[in-house]
């Protein structure tokens, strides 16, 4: 069960992150920089650095999740990234800034819907991280390794 869940979660998150990277890479990177800047959290140099690197990071994480390689690193990085995104979105929503989410390109304001959606992503990522850091549990999964008669 755990293994199947882990595969489902990493496939789901992998596709979501590949799509997120695609929406950012198809537009000029400075448009994404302005989306980040609107959150008013980072200095200009950090905004520009994040805008240059984040789409690539999302792309790499998406590929690693789908490929199933370096899963511990990928899952951990994903969780840290999503916690950062979520905190920024909550802050923007509380401030009533009415700013763009910037999650999947331009044109989607931070709202209860975007918060709920990113909450699902964060929860999925946390569960995936727990599962891949408990590989022992995965190995003992009855689907992967059914117990033999002698083990019973």
């Amino acid at each position: 069960m755990s293994r199947k869940l882990a595969i489902a979660l990493r496939t789901f998150l992998g596709i979501v992150f590949l799509y997120a990277a695609y929406t950012k890479l198809r537009q000029p990177w400075l448009v994404f920089a302005m989306s980040i800047d609107a959150y008013q959290l980072l200095p200009s140099w950090a905004v520009l650095t994040a805008a240059r690197t984040l789409p690539a990071v999302e792309l790499i994480l998406g590929v690693l999740l789908l490929w199933g390689k370096f899963l511990r690193y990928a899952a951990l990085a994903l969780t840290v990234l999503l916690i950062g995104f979520y905190a920024a979105m909550i802050r923007a929503y509380q401030a009533g800034a009415g700013i763009d989410c910037g999650c999947f390109g331009v044109g989607e304001a931070v709202s209860m819907i975007t918060l709920a959606r990113d909450g699902v992503l964060l929860a999925s990522s946390l569960i995936l991280t727990y599962l891949v850091f408990n590989e022992e549990g995965l190995r003992r999964s009855p689907i992967l390794h059914p117990q033999t008669e002698s083990e019973r």
């Binding site: 448009v31 800047d37 609107a38 959150y39 009533g96 009415g98 700013i99 763009d100």
Partner: protein, 196 residues
């Protein structure tokens, strides 16, 4: 006959070309500038105040006055802000009196006050002499002014804008919607990239 036809064509072309243009005063800069920015604002929105105070000044000084950007202000009072529509009407009325900038600046400067007590009229009139203030009060109640604000709101809805401030940056046929109180440092990099 040919002259009549030519005149008709020019008349129709002129009407089409100017139909979407806002009245004089809201627009700043050279209409044939390489970049056009349509800025949708809500005078009761705190993010718009941040944008107005931190970004708009240097944008006008460095890009609009130098002929690189044609800036058009549009009203987009959000329904969540109780006094935003009234403020938009006062600013639109002030435009007719040639006081768009003065009244707009004052409304942003005193935003916290009138947002609480709803005294938009006195705030807007506080930067005008008694005679102009009287005209402004009368104009702000004019249904034509309300219709102007409605036209801007409809334009914003057509652009699928859902927050303020939002800029629609246009260079040739490319259009970039840019929501949020973007800092001047990042906005100028984007404008430079478009100009180069």
């Amino acid at each position: 006959m040919k002259r009549v036809m030519l005149f008709s064509v020019l008349l129709v072309a002129g009407a089409v070309f100017t139909a979407g243009e806002p009245p004089f005063g809201r627009a700043m800069g050279n209409p044939s500038a390489p970049i056009r920015i349509d800025l949708y604002s809500d005078y009761q929105c705190p993010a718009c105040k941040v944008f107005h105070q931190n970004t708009l000044g240097p944008l006008i000084d460095n890009y609009v006055k130098s002929g690189k950007v044609y800036l058009v202000h549009r009203e987009f009072p959000l329904p969540i802000h109780a006094h935003a529509r009234e403020a938009a009407c006062y600013v639109s009325a002030a435009e007719r009196l040639g006081k768009y900038v003065e009244v707009g600046d004052q409304l942003f400067r005193k935003q916290e006050l009138w947002a609480k007590d709803g005294d938009v009229a006195n705030t807007a009139c506080s930067v005008l002499d008694a005679n102009t203030a009287k005209k402004l009060r009368a104009l702000a109640a004019d249904p034509q002014i309300a219709a102007e604000v409605d036209r801007d709101i409809q334009a914003a809805q057509a652009e699928k804008i859902n927050g303020t401030p939002t800029m629609i940056i246009t260079k040739m046929i490319r259009r970039y919607p840019v929501p949020g109180p973007v800092s001047y440092a990042v906005l100028s990099k984007f404008l430079d990239s478009l100009l180069n």
